[in-house]
Symmetry: C2
Subunit: 104 residues, 2 copies
Amino acid sequence: MPEPDLFRTLADPTRRAVFERLCGKEMSVSELKAGFGVSQPAISQHLAALRGAGLVCERREGRFAYYRAEPQALAPLVDWVDRYRKYWPERLEKLKNVLQDMEP
Amino acid sequence: MPEPDLFRTLADPTRRAVFERLCGKEMSVSELKAGFGVSQPAISQHLAALRGAGLVCERREGRFAYYRAEPQALAPLVDWVDRYRKYWPERLEKLKNVLQDMEP
DNA sequence: GGAACACATAAGTAACGACTTATATTTGGT
DNA sequence: ACCAAATATAAGTCGTTACTTATGTGTTCC
């Protein structure tokens, strides 16, 4: 398995949407499949790719497989983006809002 | 031309490296080519892709073409990343540092 | 005007990536 | 024990993509 790059893993819109949905709540594969216009194997393959990048993890329960997102795995991407924030002062406000939303 | 997705545009390591180098300083194509193990047309093609995504812009001067990065075009990516920052409180410190570096 | 230079575009190729259908594996229910 | 459900894996297909070499376009210098 070739090095899993976050950019490449998230480049596919369907796979990215899968990750986004899993950030909201843990879901089974068939629950995920609903709403996407692709087959179940396609979903499983996207989940395998996301798991390879550490972006999701699986919890088995009987014949069901529940997946949830692991947003910490976005660390390298966050770092990368932050390196270019400084070129971009007009975004300061939005960043401050993000900070405020995070504080209790 | 199909919609230029930032994730997809930045997915290729060589192309991403081109963008990164252009954030440091404006450069000509041949100046860029040095350091990458690919042909000049390959560089030109990456530049065309980056330009299509608004990530770089070109300034012509005689027979030279100088390129520089346009980090503002990262906006959608920054927004996307910020949506997942809130799942990730342990990164608060780093974010604060980023903020501080941006203030005068 | 012509040759060398800087770059872009064209055309071809080989690898990759996202999908499909088909099949295997495990589990639950009857 | 059997059958259906939930998921994973295999194998094949087809479009995309990142490269190559070859060629075109414009510019500078002699």
